[in-house]
Protein backbone atom coordinates (compact mmCIF):
# COMPACT_ATOMS: atom_id res chain seq x y z
CA UNK A 1 0.00 0.00 0.00
CA UNK A 2 2.65 2.46 1.04
CA UNK A 3 6.07 2.38 -0.46
CA UNK A 4 8.29 3.81 2.25
CA UNK A 5 11.01 4.70 -0.25
CA UNK A 6 8.87 7.11 -2.24
CA UNK A 7 9.50 10.22 -0.21
CA UNK A 8 12.12 9.07 2.22
CA UNK A 9 14.32 12.14 2.44
CA UNK A 10 17.92 11.46 1.50
CA UNK A 11 19.79 13.72 3.87
CA UNK A 12 23.58 14.02 3.81
CA UNK A 13 25.50 13.48 7.03
CA UNK A 14 25.83 16.89 8.69
CA UNK A 15 29.35 16.44 10.13
CA UNK A 16 31.26 15.90 6.88
CA UNK A 17 29.06 18.45 5.10
CA UNK A 18 29.88 21.05 7.74
CA UNK A 19 33.62 20.34 7.39
CA UNK A 20 33.33 20.59 3.62
CA UNK A 21 31.50 23.92 3.80
CA UNK A 22 34.05 25.34 6.25
CA UNK A 23 36.93 24.35 3.97
CA UNK A 24 35.09 25.82 1.00
CA UNK A 25 34.60 29.02 2.95
CA UNK A 26 38.29 29.20 3.89
CA UNK A 27 39.29 28.68 0.28
CA UNK A 28 36.88 31.32 -0.99
CA UNK A 29 38.10 33.75 1.67
CA UNK A 30 41.73 33.23 0.66
CA UNK A 31 40.78 33.68 -2.98
CA UNK A 32 38.80 36.85 -2.18
CA UNK A 33 41.74 38.28 -0.24
CA UNK A 34 43.95 38.03 -3.31
CA UNK A 35 41.41 39.31 -5.78
CA UNK A 36 41.17 42.93 -6.88
CA UNK A 37 43.16 45.79 -8.37
CA UNK A 38 46.35 44.63 -6.61
CA UNK A 39 46.34 40.95 -7.41
CA UNK A 40 47.93 38.64 -4.83
CA UNK A 41 48.43 34.93 -5.55
CA UNK A 42 46.91 32.35 -3.17
CA UNK A 43 50.25 31.14 -1.70
CA UNK A 44 51.24 34.74 -1.01
CA UNK A 45 47.91 35.37 0.71
CA UNK A 46 48.49 32.32 2.86
CA UNK A 47 52.00 33.50 3.78
CA UNK A 48 50.79 36.99 4.67
CA UNK A 49 48.10 35.51 6.92
CA UNK A 50 50.54 33.13 8.58
CA UNK A 51 53.06 35.89 9.22
CA UNK A 52 50.36 38.15 10.63
CA UNK A 53 49.03 35.42 12.89
CA UNK A 54 52.37 34.14 14.14
CA UNK A 55 54.19 37.48 14.14
CA UNK A 56 57.07 35.94 12.22
CA UNK A 57 58.24 37.90 9.20
CA UNK A 58 60.11 34.93 7.76
CA UNK A 59 56.95 33.59 6.20
CA UNK A 60 56.33 36.90 4.46
CA UNK A 61 59.67 37.07 2.67
CA UNK A 62 59.39 38.52 -0.84
CA UNK A 63 56.04 40.19 -0.25
CA UNK A 64 55.80 43.92 -0.79
CA UNK A 65 54.43 46.14 1.98
CA UNK A 66 51.70 47.25 -0.40
CA UNK A 67 50.49 43.71 -0.93
CA UNK A 68 50.60 43.08 2.81
CA UNK A 69 48.65 46.24 3.57
CA UNK A 70 46.05 45.59 0.88
CA UNK A 71 45.41 42.06 2.08
CA UNK A 72 45.47 42.69 5.81
CA UNK A 73 44.10 46.19 6.14
CA UNK A 74 41.79 46.66 3.18
CA UNK A 75 40.49 43.27 2.18
CA UNK A 76 40.59 41.22 5.39
CA UNK A 77 38.09 43.39 7.28
CA UNK A 78 35.77 43.36 4.30
CA UNK A 79 36.02 39.60 3.83
CA UNK A 80 35.50 38.95 7.54
CA UNK A 81 32.58 41.38 7.63
CA UNK A 82 30.95 39.75 4.59
CA UNK A 83 31.23 36.30 6.15
CA UNK A 84 30.03 37.41 9.58
CA UNK A 85 27.08 39.44 8.25
CA UNK A 86 26.01 36.61 5.93
CA UNK A 87 26.25 34.07 8.73
CA UNK A 88 24.48 36.29 11.29
CA UNK A 89 21.60 37.07 8.93
CA UNK A 90 21.19 33.42 7.91
CA UNK A 91 21.07 32.14 11.50
CA UNK A 92 18.75 34.99 12.51
CA UNK A 93 16.44 34.04 9.63
CA UNK A 94 16.48 30.36 10.59
CA UNK A 95 15.64 31.22 14.20
CA UNK A 96 12.84 33.64 13.26
CA UNK A 97 11.36 31.01 10.96
CA UNK A 98 11.52 28.37 13.67
CA UNK A 99 10.14 30.47 16.51
CA UNK A 100 7.34 32.04 14.49
CA UNK A 101 6.71 28.74 12.67
CA UNK A 102 6.74 30.68 9.46
CA UNK A 103 8.83 30.03 6.36
CA UNK A 104 8.66 33.63 5.17
CA UNK A 105 10.16 35.12 8.31
CA UNK A 106 13.54 36.80 7.92
CA UNK A 107 15.07 39.92 9.49
CA UNK A 108 14.17 41.80 6.32
CA UNK A 109 10.56 40.66 5.83
CA UNK A 110 9.79 41.07 9.54
CA UNK A 111 10.86 44.71 9.50
CA UNK A 112 13.64 43.93 11.98
CA UNK A 113 16.33 45.15 9.60
CA UNK A 114 14.40 48.35 8.96
CA UNK A 115 14.05 48.86 12.71
CA UNK A 116 17.76 48.30 13.20
CA UNK A 117 18.54 50.69 10.36
CA UNK A 118 16.27 53.32 11.83
CA UNK A 119 17.95 52.98 15.22
CA UNK A 120 21.39 53.10 13.66
CA UNK A 121 20.55 56.15 11.48
CA UNK A 122 19.23 57.91 14.52
CA UNK A 123 22.44 57.22 16.41
CA UNK A 124 24.61 58.19 13.42
CA UNK A 125 22.83 61.47 12.88
CA UNK A 126 22.84 62.54 16.47
CA UNK A 127 26.49 61.59 16.42
CA UNK A 128 25.96 59.37 19.42
CA UNK A 129 29.01 57.45 18.26
CA UNK A 130 31.03 60.14 20.00
CA UNK A 131 29.82 58.60 23.26
CA UNK A 132 31.61 55.37 22.44
CA UNK A 133 31.80 52.95 19.55
CA UNK A 134 29.13 50.38 20.51
CA UNK A 135 26.32 52.92 20.64
CA UNK A 136 25.35 52.47 16.97
CA UNK A 137 24.91 48.68 17.28
CA UNK A 138 23.05 49.20 20.56
CA UNK A 139 20.63 51.65 18.98
CA UNK A 140 20.27 49.26 16.09
CA UNK A 141 19.35 46.50 18.54
CA UNK A 142 16.83 48.75 20.27
CA UNK A 143 15.28 49.57 16.88
CA UNK A 144 15.25 45.91 15.85
CA UNK A 145 13.70 44.71 19.10
CA UNK A 146 11.13 47.49 19.05
CA UNK A 147 10.01 46.80 15.51
CA UNK A 148 9.90 43.04 16.14
CA UNK A 149 7.65 43.55 19.17
CA UNK A 150 5.41 45.84 17.16
CA UNK A 151 5.18 43.39 14.25
CA UNK A 152 4.41 40.51 16.62
CA UNK A 153 1.79 42.58 18.39
CA UNK A 154 0.14 43.53 15.09
CA UNK A 155 0.22 39.98 13.77
CA UNK A 156 -0.79 38.08 16.89
CA UNK A 157 -4.18 36.49 17.10
CA UNK A 158 -5.61 33.99 19.56
CA UNK A 159 -3.77 30.98 18.16
CA UNK A 160 -0.41 32.45 17.24
CA UNK A 161 0.97 34.13 14.16
CA UNK A 162 -0.45 33.45 10.74
CA UNK A 163 1.98 33.73 7.87
CA UNK A 164 -0.01 36.34 6.06
CA UNK A 165 -0.53 38.54 9.11
CA UNK A 166 3.13 38.38 9.99
CA UNK A 167 4.39 39.33 6.55
CA UNK A 168 1.77 42.06 6.15
CA UNK A 169 2.62 43.53 9.55
CA UNK A 170 6.31 43.35 8.66
CA UNK A 171 5.68 45.28 5.46
CA UNK A 172 3.58 47.89 7.25
CA UNK A 173 6.15 48.46 9.97
CA UNK A 174 9.05 48.45 7.51
CA UNK A 175 7.36 51.03 5.30
CA UNK A 176 6.65 53.32 8.24
CA UNK A 177 10.25 52.96 9.34
CA UNK A 178 11.61 53.61 5.88
CA UNK A 179 9.56 56.80 5.79
CA UNK A 180 11.17 57.62 9.14
CA UNK A 181 14.58 56.92 7.69
CA UNK A 182 13.66 59.15 4.74
CA UNK A 183 12.86 61.91 7.17
CA UNK A 184 16.18 61.40 8.96
CA UNK A 185 17.95 61.59 5.60
CA UNK A 186 16.17 64.84 4.84
CA UNK A 187 17.16 66.16 8.25
CA UNK A 188 20.71 64.98 7.73
CA UNK A 189 21.14 67.15 4.66
CA UNK A 190 24.82 66.95 3.73
CA UNK A 191 25.44 63.63 5.48
CA UNK A 192 22.61 62.07 3.48
CA UNK A 193 24.77 60.46 0.81
CA UNK A 194 26.76 58.52 3.41
CA UNK A 195 23.55 57.28 4.99
CA UNK A 196 22.10 56.42 1.62
CA UNK A 197 24.97 54.18 0.59
CA UNK A 198 25.10 52.56 4.00
CA UNK A 199 21.35 51.92 3.92
CA UNK A 200 21.57 50.11 0.62
CA UNK A 201 23.92 47.70 2.27
CA UNK A 202 27.61 48.06 1.66
CA UNK A 203 30.64 46.10 2.74
CA UNK A 204 33.16 48.66 1.49
CA UNK A 205 35.54 50.39 3.89
CA UNK A 206 34.78 48.38 7.01
CA UNK A 207 37.23 48.55 9.86
CA UNK A 208 38.67 45.51 11.57
CA UNK A 209 36.71 46.52 14.69
CA UNK A 210 33.42 46.42 12.75
CA UNK A 211 34.27 43.04 11.31
CA UNK A 212 35.24 41.50 14.63
CA UNK A 213 32.13 42.88 16.33
CA UNK A 214 29.81 41.17 13.84
CA UNK A 215 31.93 38.04 13.85
CA UNK A 216 31.74 37.75 17.62
CA UNK A 217 27.99 38.43 17.59
CA UNK A 218 27.39 35.90 14.82
CA UNK A 219 29.31 33.12 16.54
CA UNK A 220 28.08 33.95 20.04
CA UNK A 221 24.47 34.30 18.88
CA UNK A 222 24.63 31.00 17.01
CA UNK A 223 25.98 29.24 20.10
CA UNK A 224 23.20 30.67 22.28
CA UNK A 225 20.56 29.55 19.79
CA UNK A 226 22.24 26.18 19.35
CA UNK A 227 21.96 25.58 23.09
CA UNK A 228 18.18 25.95 22.67
CA UNK A 229 17.97 24.09 19.35
CA UNK A 230 16.12 21.07 20.75
CA UNK A 231 13.49 23.30 22.33
CA UNK A 232 13.21 25.16 19.04
CA UNK A 233 12.61 21.82 17.31
CA UNK A 234 9.79 20.96 19.72
CA UNK A 235 8.15 24.32 19.14
CA UNK A 236 7.29 23.08 15.64
CA UNK A 237 4.62 20.94 17.36
CA UNK A 238 2.82 24.08 18.50
CA UNK A 239 2.95 25.73 21.92
CA UNK A 240 0.61 23.30 23.71
CA UNK A 241 2.51 20.18 22.73
CA UNK A 242 5.88 21.83 23.35
CA UNK A 243 4.79 22.89 26.85
CA UNK A 244 3.48 19.42 27.59
CA UNK A 245 6.94 18.07 26.75
CA UNK A 246 8.48 20.38 29.34
CA UNK A 247 9.58 23.34 27.20
CA UNK A 248 9.19 26.78 28.74
CA UNK A 249 7.91 28.17 25.45
CA UNK A 250 7.61 31.83 26.40
CA UNK A 251 11.11 31.99 27.86
CA UNK A 252 12.63 30.05 24.99
CA UNK A 253 10.83 32.21 22.47
CA UNK A 254 12.00 35.40 24.17
CA UNK A 255 15.62 34.26 24.40
CA UNK A 256 15.75 33.09 20.80
CA UNK A 257 14.04 36.18 19.41
CA UNK A 258 16.39 38.43 21.38
CA UNK A 259 19.47 36.56 20.17
CA UNK A 260 18.28 36.59 16.55
CA UNK A 261 17.37 40.29 16.72
CA UNK A 262 20.78 41.08 18.19
CA UNK A 263 22.54 39.21 15.40
CA UNK A 264 20.46 40.95 12.74
CA UNK A 265 20.83 44.37 14.40
CA UNK A 266 24.62 44.21 14.71
CA UNK A 267 24.87 43.04 11.11
CA UNK A 268 22.68 45.93 9.95
CA UNK A 269 24.52 48.46 12.09
CA UNK A 270 27.75 47.58 10.32
CA UNK A 271 26.62 47.10 6.74
CA UNK A 272 23.15 48.54 6.37
CA UNK A 273 20.18 46.55 5.15
CA UNK A 274 21.09 43.37 3.33
CA UNK A 275 17.86 41.59 2.56
CA UNK A 276 16.78 38.02 1.95
CA UNK A 277 19.99 36.25 3.04
CA UNK A 278 18.08 35.09 6.11
CA UNK A 279 15.33 33.79 3.86
CA UNK A 280 17.27 32.00 1.14
CA UNK A 281 19.95 30.29 3.21
CA UNK A 282 17.85 28.51 5.87
CA UNK A 283 15.44 27.38 3.17
CA UNK A 284 18.14 25.89 1.02
CA UNK A 285 19.82 24.28 4.02
CA UNK A 286 16.53 22.88 5.31
CA UNK A 287 15.66 21.38 1.95
CA UNK A 288 18.98 19.52 1.91
CA UNK A 289 19.59 18.67 5.58
CA UNK A 290 16.07 18.65 7.01
CA UNK A 291 14.58 20.96 9.63
CA UNK A 292 16.49 19.81 12.75
CA UNK A 293 17.84 23.06 14.20
CA UNK A 294 20.87 21.36 15.72
CA UNK A 295 22.02 20.87 12.12
CA UNK A 296 20.25 23.79 10.48
CA UNK A 297 21.80 26.55 12.61
CA UNK A 298 25.52 25.75 12.28
CA UNK A 299 25.20 24.89 8.58
CA UNK A 300 23.23 28.08 7.94
CA UNK A 301 25.98 30.08 9.65
CA UNK A 302 28.61 28.76 7.25
CA UNK A 303 26.34 28.74 4.20
CA UNK A 304 25.27 32.34 4.86
CA UNK A 305 28.91 33.34 5.13
CA UNK A 306 29.64 31.55 1.85
CA UNK A 307 26.72 33.18 0.07
CA UNK A 308 27.46 36.74 1.09
CA UNK A 309 31.21 36.47 0.63
CA UNK A 310 30.60 34.87 -2.77
CA UNK A 311 28.15 37.59 -3.80
CA UNK A 312 30.43 40.36 -2.55
CA UNK A 313 33.52 38.91 -4.20
CA UNK A 314 31.67 38.37 -7.47
CA UNK A 315 30.34 41.91 -7.61
CA UNK A 316 33.76 43.27 -6.69
CA UNK A 317 35.57 41.20 -9.30
CA UNK A 318 33.11 41.11 -12.18
CA UNK A 319 31.39 44.45 -12.19
CA UNK A 320 33.09 47.69 -13.16
CA UNK A 321 31.72 49.85 -10.34
CA UNK A 322 30.82 49.25 -6.71
CA UNK A 323 27.23 47.99 -6.43
CA UNK A 324 25.77 47.92 -2.91
CA UNK A 325 25.60 44.28 -1.87
CA UNK A 326 22.08 44.83 -0.51
CA UNK A 327 20.89 45.53 -4.04
CA UNK A 328 22.45 42.27 -5.24
CA UNK A 329 20.88 40.14 -2.50
CA UNK A 330 17.50 41.79 -3.03
CA UNK A 331 17.69 41.08 -6.76
CA UNK A 332 18.53 37.43 -6.02
CA UNK A 333 16.23 37.02 -3.02
CA UNK A 334 13.11 38.81 -4.23
CA UNK A 335 12.19 36.22 -6.86
CA UNK A 336 13.00 33.48 -4.33
CA UNK A 337 10.58 35.05 -1.88
CA UNK A 338 7.88 35.06 -4.58
CA UNK A 339 8.58 31.40 -5.26
CA UNK A 340 8.17 30.34 -1.61
CA UNK A 341 5.13 32.53 -1.21
CA UNK A 342 3.49 30.87 -4.21
CA UNK A 343 4.48 27.36 -3.15
CA UNK A 344 3.16 27.97 0.35
CA UNK A 345 -0.13 29.24 -1.07
CA UNK A 346 -0.61 26.09 -3.09
CA UNK A 347 -0.06 24.13 0.08
CA UNK A 348 3.29 22.50 -0.53
CA UNK A 349 4.51 23.26 2.98
CA UNK A 350 1.29 22.52 4.78
CA UNK A 351 1.29 25.82 6.62
Amino acid sequence: MVNPDISKPARPRPGPAFALLVSGLALLAAFALGLGFVHVELPAVARILVSALTGQDVAAAGITPVERAVVLEVRLPRVLAAMAVGGALAVAGAVFQGVLMNPLADPYTLGVSAGAAFGACFALLLNLAALGAPSVPLWAFAGAAGSLLLVMYLASSAGGFSSNNLVLSGIIVASILSAGIGFLKYAADEQASVLLFWLMGSLASKTMGDALLVLATAIGGTLICLARARELNLMALGPRAAESLGVDTSRTRLLLLAAASLMAAVAVSVTGIIGFVGLIVPHAVRSVFGPDNRVLLPISLVAGALLLLGADTATRALLPGEIPIGVVTALLGGPFFLHIFRKRRVGKYGF
Binding site: M1, V2, P4, I6, S7, K8, P9, G98, M101, G159, R230, N233, L234, A236, L237, G238, R240, A241, E243, S244, L245, G246, V247, D248, R286, G290, P291, D292, Y349, G350, F351
Partner: protein, 256 residues
Amino acid sequence: MDFELAGACFSHGPKRIFTNLSLGFAPGMFHAVLGPNGCGKTTLLDILCGHRKLQQGSLRAQGRDIGAWRRKELAKAISLVPQDYQVHFPYTAREVVAMGRYPHLPRFSPPAARDEAKIEEALSVCRLEDFAERLVTELSGGEKQRVAFARALAQDAPAMLLDEPCSSLDVRHSLLVLGIAAKRVREQGGTVVAVLHDVNLAARFADTLVFLKEGSVVASGPTRETLREDILETVFDTKARVAEEPALGVPQVVFL
Protein backbone atom coordinates in the same frame (compact mmCIF):
# COMPACT_ATOMS: atom_id res chain seq x y z
CA MET B 1 -1.49 9.54 38.64
CA ASP B 2 -4.63 11.25 39.88
CA PHE B 3 -6.01 14.76 39.58
CA GLU B 4 -8.11 16.66 42.10
CA LEU B 5 -9.68 19.99 41.15
CA ALA B 6 -11.26 21.96 43.99
CA GLY B 7 -13.17 25.22 43.63
CA ALA B 8 -11.52 25.90 40.31
CA CYS B 9 -12.25 29.23 38.61
CA PHE B 10 -10.92 30.20 35.22
CA SER B 11 -11.75 33.02 32.82
CA HIS B 12 -10.55 33.87 29.33
CA GLY B 13 -10.47 37.65 29.51
CA PRO B 14 -14.03 38.66 30.35
CA LYS B 15 -15.42 35.22 29.49
CA ARG B 16 -15.98 32.93 32.47
CA ILE B 17 -15.12 29.34 31.63
CA PHE B 18 -15.29 27.63 35.03
CA THR B 19 -16.74 28.86 38.29
CA ASN B 20 -16.13 26.78 41.37
CA LEU B 21 -15.48 23.54 39.52
CA SER B 22 -14.66 20.53 41.68
CA LEU B 23 -13.76 17.30 39.96
CA GLY B 24 -11.56 14.29 40.60
CA PHE B 25 -9.88 11.91 38.16
CA ALA B 26 -8.97 8.67 39.91
CA PRO B 27 -5.82 6.81 38.91
CA GLY B 28 -5.86 3.66 36.80
CA MET B 29 -8.96 4.64 34.87
CA PHE B 30 -10.04 5.88 31.48
CA HIS B 31 -12.05 9.07 31.94
CA ALA B 32 -14.02 10.55 29.06
CA VAL B 33 -15.05 14.20 29.12
CA LEU B 34 -18.16 14.93 27.09
CA GLY B 35 -20.12 18.06 26.38
CA PRO B 36 -21.29 20.45 23.68
CA ASN B 37 -18.90 22.80 21.85
CA GLY B 38 -17.48 25.60 23.91
CA CYS B 39 -18.26 24.04 27.29
CA GLY B 40 -14.63 24.25 28.43
CA LYS B 41 -13.35 20.75 27.61
CA THR B 42 -10.08 21.88 26.03
CA THR B 43 -9.52 24.45 28.76
CA LEU B 44 -9.98 21.68 31.34
CA LEU B 45 -7.17 19.66 29.71
CA ASP B 46 -5.00 22.78 29.46
CA ILE B 47 -5.44 23.26 33.20
CA LEU B 48 -4.76 19.60 34.02
CA CYS B 49 -1.44 19.61 32.16
CA GLY B 50 -0.36 22.91 33.68
CA HIS B 51 -0.53 24.86 30.41
CA ARG B 52 -3.02 27.28 31.95
CA LYS B 53 -3.10 28.45 35.55
CA LEU B 54 -6.24 28.58 37.66
CA GLN B 55 -7.25 32.02 38.84
CA GLN B 56 -8.85 30.57 41.96
CA GLY B 57 -9.08 27.17 43.53
CA SER B 58 -6.55 24.40 43.44
CA LEU B 59 -5.38 21.55 41.28
CA ARG B 60 -3.49 18.69 42.84
CA ALA B 61 -1.75 16.07 40.76
CA GLN B 62 -0.79 13.03 42.81
CA GLY B 63 -1.59 15.01 45.93
CA ARG B 64 0.83 17.81 45.07
CA ASP B 65 -0.19 21.27 43.95
CA ILE B 66 0.40 21.58 40.20
CA GLY B 67 2.48 24.72 40.75
CA ALA B 68 4.95 22.75 42.86
CA TRP B 69 5.86 20.42 40.00
CA ARG B 70 8.99 21.13 37.97
CA ARG B 71 8.40 21.40 34.24
CA LYS B 72 10.37 18.30 33.31
CA GLU B 73 8.81 16.24 36.11
CA LEU B 74 5.39 17.22 34.85
CA ALA B 75 6.37 16.27 31.30
CA LYS B 76 7.47 12.86 32.53
CA ALA B 77 4.16 12.43 34.39
CA ILE B 78 1.61 13.84 31.91
CA SER B 79 1.52 13.65 28.14
CA LEU B 80 -0.87 15.61 25.96
CA VAL B 81 -2.27 15.04 22.48
CA PRO B 82 -3.60 18.47 21.56
CA GLN B 83 -6.40 19.06 19.12
CA ASP B 84 -4.00 20.77 16.76
CA TYR B 85 -1.72 18.05 15.50
CA GLN B 86 0.01 20.08 12.76
CA VAL B 87 3.79 20.00 12.64
CA HIS B 88 5.17 23.17 11.15
CA PHE B 89 8.36 21.89 9.57
CA PRO B 90 9.08 18.87 7.37
CA TYR B 91 10.31 16.44 10.03
CA THR B 92 9.94 12.73 9.38
CA ALA B 93 7.26 10.91 11.36
CA ARG B 94 10.02 9.13 13.31
CA GLU B 95 11.66 12.45 14.22
CA VAL B 96 8.32 13.74 15.55
CA VAL B 97 7.73 10.60 17.61
CA ALA B 98 11.30 10.87 18.91
CA MET B 99 10.47 14.36 20.23
CA GLY B 100 8.32 12.58 22.81
CA ARG B 101 11.52 11.42 24.50
CA TYR B 102 12.69 14.99 25.15
CA PRO B 103 11.74 15.08 28.87
CA HIS B 104 13.74 11.90 29.47
CA LEU B 105 16.95 13.11 27.82
CA PRO B 106 19.59 15.21 29.55
CA ARG B 107 20.65 18.26 27.53
CA PHE B 108 22.93 17.46 24.56
CA SER B 109 22.71 13.70 25.00
CA PRO B 110 21.47 11.52 22.14
CA PRO B 111 18.65 9.01 22.63
CA ALA B 112 19.81 5.82 24.38
CA ALA B 113 18.78 2.29 23.44
CA ARG B 114 15.83 2.52 25.85
CA ASP B 115 14.59 5.67 24.11
CA GLU B 116 14.97 4.09 20.68
CA ALA B 117 12.96 1.10 21.91
CA LYS B 118 10.14 3.36 23.12
CA ILE B 119 10.11 5.19 19.77
CA GLU B 120 9.94 1.92 17.82
CA GLU B 121 7.23 0.57 20.10
CA ALA B 122 5.11 3.73 19.71
CA LEU B 123 5.47 3.62 15.92
CA SER B 124 4.58 -0.05 15.78
CA VAL B 125 1.52 -0.05 18.06
CA CYS B 126 0.14 2.91 16.11
CA ARG B 127 0.86 1.00 12.88
CA LEU B 128 3.08 3.77 11.58
CA GLU B 129 6.13 1.72 10.60
CA ASP B 130 5.52 2.34 6.91
CA PHE B 131 5.27 6.08 7.49
CA ALA B 132 8.24 6.39 9.83
CA GLU B 133 10.63 7.88 7.28
CA ARG B 134 8.07 10.02 5.49
CA LEU B 135 7.75 13.75 5.97
CA VAL B 136 4.96 14.49 8.40
CA THR B 137 3.96 17.58 6.40
CA GLU B 138 3.09 15.28 3.49
CA LEU B 139 0.89 12.91 5.49
CA SER B 140 -2.91 13.04 5.54
CA GLY B 141 -4.75 14.57 8.49
CA GLY B 142 -5.51 11.19 10.04
CA GLU B 143 -1.93 10.01 9.66
CA LYS B 144 -0.65 13.21 11.26
CA GLN B 145 -3.03 12.71 14.16
CA ARG B 146 -1.74 9.17 14.70
CA VAL B 147 1.83 10.53 14.65
CA ALA B 148 0.84 13.03 17.35
CA PHE B 149 -0.64 10.19 19.41
CA ALA B 150 2.47 8.05 18.91
CA ARG B 151 4.61 11.01 20.03
CA ALA B 152 2.63 11.18 23.28
CA LEU B 153 2.93 7.40 23.72
CA ALA B 154 6.71 7.61 23.33
CA GLN B 155 6.68 10.19 26.13
CA ASP B 156 5.68 7.23 28.32
CA ALA B 157 3.95 9.26 31.03
CA PRO B 158 1.56 7.63 33.53
CA ALA B 159 -1.16 10.14 32.64
CA MET B 160 -2.32 10.82 29.09
CA LEU B 161 -4.56 13.73 28.18
CA LEU B 162 -6.25 13.37 24.81
CA ASP B 163 -8.05 16.27 23.18
CA GLU B 164 -10.36 14.81 20.56
CA PRO B 165 -7.75 12.27 19.52
CA CYS B 166 -10.04 10.78 16.86
CA SER B 167 -11.27 13.97 15.19
CA SER B 168 -9.56 13.09 11.89
CA LEU B 169 -9.45 9.31 12.20
CA ASP B 170 -11.55 6.74 10.38
CA VAL B 171 -13.44 4.10 12.37
CA ARG B 172 -10.65 1.53 12.31
CA HIS B 173 -8.02 3.96 13.52
CA SER B 174 -10.32 5.54 16.13
CA LEU B 175 -10.78 2.08 17.65
CA LEU B 176 -7.04 1.44 17.38
CA VAL B 177 -6.00 4.65 19.14
CA LEU B 178 -8.56 4.48 21.96
CA GLY B 179 -7.86 0.76 22.31
CA ILE B 180 -4.15 1.49 22.86
CA ALA B 181 -5.04 4.09 25.49
CA ALA B 182 -7.47 1.74 27.25
CA LYS B 183 -4.91 -1.08 27.21
CA ARG B 184 -2.32 1.14 28.86
CA VAL B 185 -4.81 1.93 31.59
CA ARG B 186 -5.60 -1.76 32.14
CA GLU B 187 -2.09 -3.13 31.96
CA GLN B 188 0.09 -0.35 33.35
CA GLY B 189 -2.37 1.37 35.66
CA GLY B 190 -2.11 4.64 33.78
CA THR B 191 -4.71 7.39 33.80
CA VAL B 192 -6.36 8.67 30.63
CA VAL B 193 -8.49 11.79 30.41
CA ALA B 194 -9.95 12.04 26.92
CA VAL B 195 -12.16 14.75 25.50
CA LEU B 196 -14.39 12.92 23.03
CA HIS B 197 -17.20 13.95 20.73
CA ASP B 198 -18.40 10.46 19.98
CA VAL B 199 -20.54 9.37 22.94
CA ASN B 200 -20.50 5.76 21.76
CA LEU B 201 -16.71 5.59 21.64
CA ALA B 202 -16.70 7.03 25.16
CA ALA B 203 -19.24 4.46 26.34
CA ARG B 204 -17.16 1.69 24.83
CA PHE B 205 -13.73 2.62 26.22
CA ALA B 206 -14.23 4.85 29.25
CA ASP B 207 -14.59 3.69 32.86
CA THR B 208 -16.09 6.99 33.93
CA LEU B 209 -17.83 9.83 32.12
CA VAL B 210 -17.80 13.54 32.95
CA PHE B 211 -20.55 15.60 31.36
CA LEU B 212 -19.77 19.30 31.13
CA LYS B 213 -22.11 22.06 30.12
CA GLU B 214 -21.31 25.78 30.24
CA GLY B 215 -18.38 25.18 32.52
CA SER B 216 -20.23 23.11 35.11
CA VAL B 217 -20.36 19.39 35.74
CA VAL B 218 -23.82 18.04 34.91
CA ALA B 219 -22.93 14.49 35.91
CA SER B 220 -19.85 12.41 36.55
CA GLY B 221 -19.30 8.83 37.59
CA PRO B 222 -19.03 5.28 36.29
CA THR B 223 -20.07 4.94 32.66
CA ARG B 224 -23.08 2.68 33.31
CA GLU B 225 -24.49 5.04 35.94
CA THR B 226 -24.03 8.30 34.02
CA LEU B 227 -24.91 7.24 30.47
CA ARG B 228 -28.60 8.07 31.00
CA GLU B 229 -31.12 9.46 28.59
CA ASP B 230 -32.09 12.36 30.83
CA ILE B 231 -28.46 13.42 31.34
CA LEU B 232 -27.68 13.18 27.62
CA GLU B 233 -30.75 15.25 26.78
CA THR B 234 -29.81 17.94 29.30
CA VAL B 235 -26.23 18.14 28.08
CA PHE B 236 -26.73 17.99 24.32
CA ASP B 237 -30.30 19.37 24.01
CA THR B 238 -31.11 16.42 21.79
CA LYS B 239 -33.43 13.48 22.44
CA ALA B 240 -31.43 10.33 23.11
CA ARG B 241 -32.07 6.63 23.59
CA VAL B 242 -29.65 4.39 25.47
CA ALA B 243 -29.68 0.65 24.87
CA GLU B 244 -27.38 -2.22 25.74
CA GLU B 245 -25.37 -3.36 22.70
CA PRO B 246 -24.98 -7.13 23.09
CA ALA B 247 -22.07 -7.36 20.63
CA LEU B 248 -20.00 -5.03 22.80
CA GLY B 249 -21.47 -5.65 26.22
CA VAL B 250 -21.76 -1.89 26.82
CA PRO B 251 -24.60 0.59 26.43
CA GLN B 252 -24.70 2.64 23.23
CA VAL B 253 -26.56 5.81 22.39
CA VAL B 254 -28.79 6.78 19.50
CA PHE B 255 -29.70 10.46 19.19
CA LEU B 256 -33.20 10.93 17.83
